[in-house]
Amino acid sequence: MTASVIKLATTAEDHHIARMAALALGLTVLEAAVPSPLPGVKPGLANIVTLIVLARYGWRTAAWVSLLRVLAGSLLMGSFLSPGFFLSLSGAVCSLAILAVSQHLPARWFGAVTHSVAAAYAHIAGQMIVVYLWLIPHAGIAYLFPIFATAALVFGTVNGLIAARFMDNTQIHSLPLDGGGLGRG
């Protein structure tokens, strides 16, 4: 009897996506340790990775990274197929839909902050739709919209700034100028 070996053919792009998704997963796990004042209000640090991937490698790769992160993150957290998982998924899908549009904005005027804030608003919109249609079908959740919108604005801006700074620094780093690098900022 011979041992059968199943080998999936993987491309360099697959490996790259996996690496980026793993990075995003690390941020997801890190963030889970941070206490949140209200369920659902989270910084969403993993989206920094999505933003950078979007700018560097395009929307398709960003979608892979984002959705893999949601799936693998829920497996790590033990929330796969729980309401929290579907909230993450709907948020990620809506964010990606907005990013598919916003990435076509002229890069001269609109940077990572725009994409981040737009995606953050899409994220809470997607979550609120699921919450309303499935979890809490009551108009009373409208009272929470301003809180979530404020969180989206703040965290969207912060994440966008981090992504933009990261990309600025790595651009400088690749040129023969003074050493910027990742550790700074």
Partner: protein, 125 residues
């Protein structure tokens, strides 16, 4: 953080501004209780009287423990006196916006402000 602001492009400012305006608009529309124009006074679960807030008045409402006094003054209402032991409803003070309610539980008296458009008064799921 030396030049964090340099990472924000002109269009980004526009997006941030519209985001802030949108959020403020959400808060203004969703958190605004609406102005009240009448007070609904209940005793033992039944409507005792409905009075407009436009006229200052003092109303005595009978309950199992005795009389509760409800004062209406300057488009606001409060429970001015009540025989309840803990006086929670009295200490609640003036009610101003539609949907606000003060309940004196032992004496089964409540006053609720209502506006032209009635909002939900309790949430449950």
């Amino acid at each position: 953080m030396r030049n964090a602001l340099e990472s924000i492009k002109p269009g980004d400012w526009l997006v941030l501004l519209s985001g802030a305006i949108f959020t403020a608009w959400l808060a203004a529309t969703l958190w605004h209780g609406g102005s009240a124009d009448k007070a609904i006074i209940r005793s033992g679960g039944k409507i005792f009287r409905e009075v407009p807030l436009s006229r200052d008045t003092l109303i005595e409402v009978p309950g199992p423990l005795g009389l509760s006094q409800i004062a209406i003054h300057n488009k606001q209402a409060r429970i001015a006196a009540d025989p309840s032991p803990r006086q929670y409803c009295v200490r609640q003070g003036w009610l101003k916006q539609a949907g606000e309610i003060a309940i004196c539980l032992p004496n089964q008296v409540s006053v609720e402000l209502s506006g032209s458009n009635k909002r939900y008064d309790s949430l449950s799921y």
